[in-house]
C-alpha cells in the first residue's frame, strides 16, 4: 500500500506488546521505532521524523497523558492511545488532552493496523483530498463524489450498492443531523414508510461494515440508539 518511509513510534512499558505491534506494522511497510517510557518518546521525537505515535497511558517515569501534553506544545503529530482503561471518561480525557484516537486493550491487531493506516493516510499526502468539486461531499476522511458516484475513506475506495450509496449520500449531505429509519426511508424511496421494516437498519449495517475500520466502533456512520442514524461532521 505504500507505507514505506513512514515512521511509527510505539511506546508501552510492556515489551511484548511493543514487539508484537512492531511486527504488524513492519508487515505493512512502516519503519518502527520503539520506546518503553515517556521520556524515551521525547528523545526519539526530537531526533527522528515520526509520523505517528502509538502511546500507552500507564507508564512509569512519565505517563502517556503527560507525554501528549508536552508533544502538543510543539507539534500536531497524530497520537493514538492504547490503554486497558476502557471507560468513557478515560477516552474523553485522552482525546481532550490531545490524542487523535483511542484504542482499548486487548485490541484486535488488525483493527489497530487499520486505524494506524487510516490516520497516516489522513494526515499525510497519501490521503490527498480531491479538489473541491461541485458535487463533492466530505466529512473528515470520508469523501463522496456525486459526479463520479465514488466513495473514498482516507483515500481508500469503497464499493457500495446503489441503495447504500443513496443512504450514505443523504446522510453525508446532512452530516451531523440524526434521522429516524422512517425519515431515511421516505427520503430515499420517496414513499410513506409503514410497517415494521428494518431494511434501512440492515443497509446501514452493511455500509458501516464497508466504510468503517471497526464497524462496532464507527467513526463516521453512527447509531443514535432509540432515535436514528447520522454521519458525524468532521473538518
Amino acid at each position: 500500500m505504500g507505507y514505506e518511509g513512514y515512521n511509527i513510534l510505539i511506546c508501552d512499558d510492556d515489551k511484548a506488546i511493543v514487539d508484537a505491534v512492531g511486527i504488524y506494522l513492519s508487515g505493512e511497510g512502516y519503519s518502527v521505532y520503539k520506546a518503553y517510557d515517556g521520556a524515551q518518546v521525547f528523545d526519539i521525537i526530537q531526533k527522528e521524523q515520526i509520523h505517528l505515535v502509538l502511546l500507552d497511558i500507564m507508564m512509569p517515569v512519565m505517563d502517556g497523558l503527560e507525554v501528549t501534553k508536552m508533544i502538543r506544545e510543539q507539534s500536531g503529530i497524530p497520537i493514538i492511545f492504547m490503554s486497558a482503561k476502557a471507560q468513557d471518561e478515560d477516552k474523553i480525557q485522552g482525546l481532550q488532552i490531545g490524542a487523535d484516537d483511542y484504542i482499548t486493550k486487548p485490541f484486535n491487531p488488525r483493527e489497530l493496523v487499520a486505524r494506524v493506516n487510516s490516520m497516516v493516510r489522513r494526515y499525510t499526502k497519501l490521503g490527498a483530498m480531491p479538489a473541491d468539486e461541485a458535487n463533492s461531499y466530505r466529512t473528515g476522511g470520508l469523501v463522496i463524489s456525486d459526479d463520479k458516484k465514488k466513495v473514498t475513506v482516507d483515500g481508500r475506495d469503497v464499493r457500495l450498492t446503489p441503495l447504500e450509496y443513496n443512504i450514505l449520500l443523504f446522510l453525508v449531505k446532512n452530516q451531523g443531523k440524526v434521522y429516524t429509519i422512517n425519515e431515511i426511508y421516505e427520503n430515499i424511496w420517496n414513499e410513506e414508510a409503514f410497517g415494521a421494516d428494518n431494511t434501512v437498519a440492515v443497509h446501514i449495517r452493511h455500509i458501516r461494515e464497508k466504510i468503517e475500520v471497526n464497524p462496532k466502533n464507527p467513526q463516521y456512520l453512527k447509531v443514535v440508539w432509540g432515535w436514528g442514524y447520522k454521519v458525524e461532521k468532521y473538518e
Binding site: 486493550k105 491487531p109 440508539w225
Partner: protein, 669 residues
C-alpha cells in the same frame, strides 16, 4: 489537761448557759409583752404623765363604775332601809371605798331639782372641778361633761342608768390627781412609775440577754456535732429521726410558748410567783427548741439535711416503685401529689403559702418545658440519624440532668457515631472493592493483549500443521472469551457500586428495536434464525439512557442469537401495557433449560451449567442491573425450552412526536 477537755467544759457550760439565758429571755418576753399589752407602761415615747397612760384610764374607768354601783346601792337601800337590810357585806366594802378620806375621788349627787342628795365631801362644785380631773354626768339630760378626754367613752354611762335609781339625777365627780389618799388610783400611779422607771432597764436587760442568747446559739452551732479528735460531724441519735418530726416538735414548742404567754397575760397576771411557776414549762419549751435547732445545724453541717426526712423516704419509695412497676403508676402518683398539694395550699393556706405555691408551680412549669424541649432535641437528633444527616445530630449532654436523661442522650450520640462509622466503612469497603476489581481487570488485560496479539501472529504464520491450527483456534477462542469476561467484570462491578452515570432522555423504543434488528440481521441469518418483529405503528417513547438501553437490548438479542436452536424463530414484541411500554424477546433454547429464572440472572450463572459453550454469564446480570438502574423492570420467564425476556419501562407522556423532530435536538446529538 488537753485542749479537748477544755473545749468540752466550755461546750457544756455554753449549753447550760444557753438554756438558762433562753428561759430568761422567754420569760422576759412574756413580761414585756404583758406590760405592753395591759399596762401601757412601756412605750417608745416614754410617758411623763400618769394621767396620759392607759393604766390611769383603766383605773379611772374601774373607779367610776364602782362609784356608780355604790351610789345605786345606796339609793336603793335608802329606799328599802326600813325593810330589808340588803347585802350588808357588799355595801360595807363599797362604803369603805368611797368614804371621805378613803378615796381620791370626790363626788356630789344632785337630784333633778338641784338639791344635793349624797356626797363624800364638803367642797363646792367649783372646788370639785378644780381638783384635777372632773366628770359631770347628767342622767336627766343624758350629757357628759369632762376635761379628761383620753380613751374613755363616758357616753355609755348615762345610757346604762336610765332605768335605775340614778335616773334624772346629776353626778359631779372630781379626781384629785395629786392622789393624796392611798386608793386604787394611787396604787395604779405608783405601779406605773415603778414600771416606767424600770422599763428602760428591762429593755436594756432584754436586749443584752437576747444578744447573749444569739451568741450562744451561734457558738452552739459552730461546735455542734464535734467530738474530740474527729473531723467529721458526729450525728446524735435524734438526727436520725425524720426531720419533719423534729420540726413538728419545734412548732409545738413555739405554740406552747404562745399559750403560756397568753395564760400569764390574760389570766394569771404577772408577778413574782407566776413568773417562777412559768419558768419550768418555759425551760422545757426552750429545751425542745434548742434540741431541734442543734439537730438541724448538725444535719446541715454533715450535709445530710435531706437524708433523714420523710420526704426523702417517700421519694425513694416512689423511685424504687417506678423502677420495677410501670411508669404510668409513677406519673399518676406524681400528678396526684402535685394536685393535692396545690389544692390544700390554695384552699387552706394563707397568702404567703399561696405565694410560695405559685413559685413552686412556676418552677414545675419551667421544668416541664425543659423536659419537653429536651425530648424535642432528642427526637430531632434521632430523626437526623434516621435520615442520614450525620453532621448535625450530636447532642450536648451538659443540657441533660445527670441520670437517666443524660444516659439517654449519650446513647443517642453513641448510636449516631456508630452509624456514621459503619456508613463510612461501608462506603470505603465498596469503593475499595470497586477499585480492586478495576485494577485487577486492568492488570489482566495487559498480558491478555499480548496473548491475543501473539496468537494472531501465529495464525498469520500459516503453519502447515493441522493440529497447530486447531490449537491456535482454541487459543484464539479462549483468549477472546477472557477479554469479554474482563470487560464485563469491570462493568458489572461499576454498576453494582453505583459509579455508572445514567442520563435519562426521551427515546423511541420502537426505533431501537428496528435498529437492533438491523445490527443482528447478519448473525441471525448465520444461525438460520428468523426474526419476527411486532411493534406498533407510531413511536413508543420512554425515558431511558440510550447507551444503557442498547447494551440491554444488545445483550438479549445476542443471547437469542447465540443460544437459540438453529432453524427456529425469534419473536421481538413491543406493546403498551397501561402506562408502561413492554418489550419481550422470545426464543427456543438449543440446550435444555434446567435452571430457574432467578438463578439464571445471578451472576456467573448460565443455562448450561457445564459452562462450556461460548459466552460468559455476566450478560444477563448486567442487563438486569442496567434496566433497574434506569428505573425499568427486567424479568426472565422459562417454560420448557421457551426463553422469554421481559422489559418494562414507564412511557414518557410528556413529549410528543414533535420533540424528536426538532431541528435543534437533531443536530445536538
Amino acid at each position: 489537761m488537753n485542749k479537748w477537755f477544755y473545749s468540752r467544759i466550755v461546750k457544756a457550760a455554753s449549753i447550760i448557759a444557753t438554756y438558762v439565758v433562753g428561759v430568761l429571755c422567754l420569760l422576759l418576753v412574756t413580761v414585756v409583752v404583758y406590760y405592753a399589752v395591759r399596762k401601757d407602761g412601756i412605750r417608745y415615747e416614754n410617758l411623763e404623765n400618769f394621767q396620759d397612760s392607759q393604766a390611769y384610764a383603766d383605773a379611772l374607768d374601774e373607779q367610776v363604775n364602782g362609784l356608780l354601783s355604790y351610789l345605786h346601792t345606796e339609793l336603793e337601800s335608802a329606799d328599802t332601809r326600813a325593810g330589808e337590810s340588803g347585802d350588808q357585806s357588799e355595801g360595807y366594802l363599797v362604803e369603805n371605798r368611797f368614804l371621805e378620806g378613803y378615796s381620791n375621788i370626790s363626788y356630789q349627787l344632785y337630784d333633778s331639782s338641784g338639791e344635793q342628795i349624797l356626797s363624800n365631801n364638803s367642797l363646792t362644785e367649783g372646788q370639785l372641778m378644780q381638783l384635777g380631773n372632773f366628770i359631770i354626768l347628767d342622767f336627766g339630760k343624758g350629757t357628759v361633761d369632762t376635761d379628761y378626754v383620753k380613751n374613755m367613752d363616758f357616753q355609755g354611762y348615762p345610757e346604762r342608768v336610765t332605768e335605775s335609781a340614778l335616773a334624772g339625777k346629776r353626778l359631779v365627780i372630781g379626781v384629785d390627781t395629786s392622789f393624796p389618799v392611798r386608793d386604787r388610783l394611787s396604787v395604779a400611779r405608783d405601779t406605773f412609775f415603778e414600771i416606767r422607771d424600770s422599763s428602760n432597764i428591762m429593755m436594756t436587760l432584754e436586749a443584752f440577754l437576747y444578744a447573749v442568747l444569739i451568741l450562744l446559739y451561734v457558738h452552739l452551732a459552730i461546735t455542734a456535732g464535734q467530738r474530740e479528735k474527729k473531723d467529721k460531724v458526729i450525728l446524735r441519735p435524734e438526727d436520725y429521726i425524720p426531720l419533719e418530726f423534729l420540726l413538728l416538735l419545734g412548732c409545738i414548742g413555739v405554740g406552747l410558748f404562745w399559750v403560756l404567754m397568753y395564760e400569764l397575760i390574760e389570766n394569771a397576771g404577772v408577778d413574782r410567783f407566776s413568773v417562777l411557776t412559768a419558768s419550768m414549762p418555759a425551760l422545757v419549751i426552750h429545751t425542745s427548741i434548742v434540741v431541734v435547732y442543734l439537730s438541724i445545724v448538725r444535719r446541715v453541717k454533715a450535709k445530710v439535711e435531706w437524708k433523714h426526712t420523710l420526704l426523702k423516704q417517700f421519694a425513694d419509695r416512689i423511685a424504687k416503685a417506678s423502677e420495677f412497676k410501670n411508669v404510668v403508676l409513677q406519673t399518676i402518683l406524681t400528678f396526684v401529689i402535685f394536685m393535692s398539694v396545690n389544692y390544700i395550699c390554695i384552699v387552706y393556706g394563707n397568702l404567703p403559702v399561696k405565694i410560695i405555691l405559685a413559685g413552686v408551680d412556676l418552677l414545675m412549669c419551667g421544668q416541664l418545658i425543659r423536659w419537653s424541649l429536651q425530648r424535642m432535641e432528642m427526637y430531632n437528633s434521632i430523626n437526623m440519624i434516621n435520615r442520614g444527616e450525620l453532621d448535625r445530630y450530636h447532642l450536648d449532654i451538659t443540657h441533660f440532668r445527670k441520670g437517666s436523661e443524660r444516659t439517654l442522650a449519650e446513647a443517642i450520640n453513641s448510636i449516631g457515631n456508630s452509624f456514621t462509622k459503619m456508613l463510612d466503612e461501608n462506603t470505603r469497603a465498596e469503593r475499595m472493592k470497586a477499585d480492586l476489581i478495576t485494577n485487577v481487570s486492568h492488570d489482566i488485560k495487559t498480558p491478555l493483549t499480548s496473548i491475543i496479539n501473539y496468537v494472531d501472529l501465529l495464525k498469520g504464520l500459516k503453519l502447515d500443521n493441522d493440529e497447530a491450527e486447531e490449537y491456535l483456534r482454541v487459543l484464539d477462542e479462549k483468549s477472546q472469551r477472557l477479554k469479554t469476561l474482563a470487560e464485563d467484570l469491570v462493568e458489572a462491578s461499576r454498576i453494582s457500586s453505583g459509579s455508572v452515570k445514567v442520563e435519562l432522555e426521551t427515546m423511541d423504543f420502537r426505533e431501537l428495536l428496528l435498529q437492533a434488528g438491523g445490527e443482528f440481521e447478519g448473525l441471525l441469518k448465520e444461525r438460520e434464525l428468523e426474526l419476527i418483529t411486532d411493534v406498533p405503528e407510531g413511536a413508543v417513547l420512554v425515558k431511558a439512557d440510550r447507551r444503557h438501553m442498547w447494551r440491554v437490548v444488545e445483550n438479549l438479542f445476542s443471547n437469542a442469537a447465540k443460544y437459540s436452536m438453529p432453524g427456529t424463530r425469534v419473536y421481538a414484541e413491543l406493546f403498551p401495557d397501561g402506562d408502561a411500554a413492554v418489550f419481550t424477546l422470545k426464543n427456543i433454547s438449543e440446550q435444555p433449560l434446567n435452571i430457574r429464572a432467578e438463578e439464571l440472572m445471578e451472576r456467573f450463572m448460565r443455562a448450561d451449567s457445564s459452562r462450556t459453550t461460548k459466552g460468559n454469564g455476566l450478560g444477563l446480570s448486567i442487563a438486569k442491573d442496567l434496566t433497574v438502574l434506569q428505573g425499568g423492570g427486567f424479568n426472565i420467564l422459562l417454560d420448557g425450552d421457551l426463553f422469554k425476556a421481559v422489559i418494562r419501562f414507564p412511557m414518557d407522556e410528556g413529549s410528543s412526536d414533535t420533540a424528536l423532530n426538532s431541528e435543534e435536538l437533531r443536530e445536538n446529538l
